[in-house]
Amino acid sequence: MEPFVHLKGVAAPLPIDNVDTDAIIPSRETQSVSRSGYGEKLFANWRYLPGTREINADFVLNREPFAQAQLLVGGRNFGCGSSREAAVWALSQFGIRCVIAPSFGTIFRNNCIRNGLLPVTLPIEVIEPLLSDLQACVGQAIVEIDLQACTVTGPDGAVHRFEIGALDREMLLSGADEIAITLQKRGLIEAFRNMDRTQRPWVYQDSQIWAEDARETGT
C-alpha cells in the first residue's frame, strides 16, 4: 500500500449529506472481477448524463479545476450504505487520496484506511465554510494535509487540527500490510483458540461433522 504522509492539491466540494457507496460507484459499474478500471466509473450516475457516458457539465468533478481534484470535501455520513470496497478504489483511481467530511460510514472508512486513502473528520462548523470557500474560489481551491502533524490547511490559510486513531495513522503513514502484522501474532491467536476451544467447543466443530449433520436432518 502506498504510504500517505503529505498532500497538497485541488479539493472538490460535494455539499450533500449521506452520499452512499451506490452513488460513489453504482452497482452496475462493478461488473468486473478485477480491481482496476474504476476511475472513470466514479460517481457515474452524477458525472454522466442518464444512461450515457456523456459528460454532465454541471457535476463538480467535470468542472475545472475540480476535474484535477486530489481531495474531496463532503457532507455528513459520507460513504454510508453498501460495503463495496470499489467505492474506495474508484476514488483512488480517479486520483482522490483524501476525503474530508463531518462523519463517515464505518465500513467505508475502514476500507479507506486499508487502501491508503485518508478519511479526515472535521466538525460541520469547519466543513461548511470550507465548502463555501471551495465553491467560491475557483482556480485556487487548494487544500493541504499533513498527516504527521494532523492538520488541514484550507484555501484561506486557516489551519485545522484533526484527530485520527494512532493505529489508523500509523498504517497510513507506513503503508504497512495489516495481514502480515497480524500473522506475526500467530502464537497469540493459537493460544486464544486453544483456550477458547475448552470454553466454547461447539464453535470449533469441524466441517466434516457439519456435513453429516446436515445430511441427516435433510436440510
Binding site: D22, V33, P50, S82, T106, I124, E178, I209
Partner: protein, 473 residues
Amino acid sequence: MAQAQPATLIEKLWRAHEVADLGDDTSLLHIDRLFLHERSGGRMLQGVAAAGRTAFDPAMIFGTLDHIIDTDPGRTDQTKFPGGPEFIQQFRSGTAAAGIRTFDLGDPNQGIVHVIAPELGIAQPGMTLVCGDSHTCTVGGIGALAWGIGITQGEHVISTQCLAVKRPKMMRVRFDGALGACVTAKDMILHLIRLHGARGGQGCAIEFCGSAVAALSCEARMTLCNMAVEFGAWTGIVAPDEKTIDFMRGRPFGPEAGHWANAETWWRTLHSDQGARFDIDIAIDASAIAPQVTWGTSSEQSIGIDEAVPSPDDVADPVARGSAEKALGYTGVTPGRPLTGLPIEAAFIGSCTNSRIEDLRGAAALLRGRHVAEGVKAICVPGSSTVKRMAEAEGLDRIFADAGFEWREAGCSLCFYAGGDSFGSARRVISSTNRNFENRQGVGVRSHLASPLTVAASAVAGEISDPRDLVTR
C-alpha cells in the same frame, strides 16, 4: 468479595473474543464465522491466494450465492447481471480450492447470506460473525455480534481468522409498549431512524431491548437489527432469551448434541448486567408508532403513513436542506401532502430485511382473496430456498400467484440493481427492502421503503396505502 464491573452484552462478547489489545481502543478479535458470497467472496479468496497465503481455518468459513444469481425459475450461471458468470465461477473455484462449504445453486440451503446464517445455525448467539456485506448486522437478532466488512478486511479474516476492531460506543435503544395493528419491526426501525437520523447510531453498537423487542419473534428481531446499519451503527444486537434458544434448536449447523447444554448455559449469561453503562440511551414508545413509508433517498426520510411529507423550507441547516431538496427532486413527491394515494407501478417483497417466512405469511394474509391493481408489477422473492419450501408447503405461493405476484427463487434479486434484472418500465416502487438510495433498484427508480404489510396493501390498491384500512375494511 469484589464484584466485577457491570458489563454490557457487547462488552462481554468483546472480552470473550479478544485475542490481543492493540492499544488505541482497538482489539484483535477472534472471528467465529466468516460468510462469503459470490459478489465479493471470490475477490477475497483471489487476493489471499495472490499474496501467497491460505485460509487459516476454512471450517469457520461458509459461502452462498445470492447477490448476482438470477431469481427466475430455471436459473443457471448465465445471469442477467453482465459479467455475472465470471463472478460465479471465480467464487466457485475459489471456495472449492480453499475447502469452504458453499451453498451453490440448487443446494437446498442456498439463500440470502443473512437469512441462511441463522436459519442453518451457522450463526449462533454470542458468536462473532462477519461478511462482506453491510447488512451482516441482521444476525444480531439472535444475539450474535455480527458486522459488515470490506474486501481487504475479508482477506484479513480468511488469512488470520481475526480482525482488528475499534471499540464502538455503547448505545441502548429501548422500545416499550405494545405495537399497534399492522405495525411491525420494520416500522420500529424506520421510526427510530427518522427520529434520530441516518447517522444517529454512528460509531455505536446498539443493544435493542424493552418490552416491545422482547415481544418480537427472532425473525422480527432480525428485521430490526438489519437496518442498524441504515442508522449509521456498527452493529445491532438483541440479547438471547428463551425465544432465541428455542429458535436455535434443531438447526443443522448448530451445536452438536453433546455440547448443547453447555452452549445453552453460556447463552443464558449473554445479557447486559444491571447497572451496565451505555454511552447513549434512547427510549421509544412503541405504541405510538404508525406504519412507516419513506419519501426520500435516505432511510431517515420516512414518515408515518398518515402524515404529510415535510418541507425542506423547514430545515435550518443548509447542507441538510440541500440534501432534502435533492431527494425530493429525485423522488418527485410533493411536500405538505401525504404519501397515501401516490400511484405505484411496482411492488417488491423480499431482501434480507423482510423475506423470512413470517414476512411472507403476513403479506399473504392481506393478499388472500385479493389481487394487485392493474398495471402493478408485483414480485415476491423468498429469502432462502428453505423459506421458499416452507411457504410452498403452506400454500403461500398460491396466494401470491393468485394475487398477481411473481413467485421466485431465493436471492437478493431486485433489492438492488446491478444492470440485469429490472422492474421494466416501472419507476415508482413500494419495497420491503432497506435502501431507498438513488438508482438503488434501477436507474431512475424511486423506492419507497415499507413493511411487507404496507407493500401488500399498496400493491392491491395500486397506490401507497395504509395496511390498517385493508384489515378494518
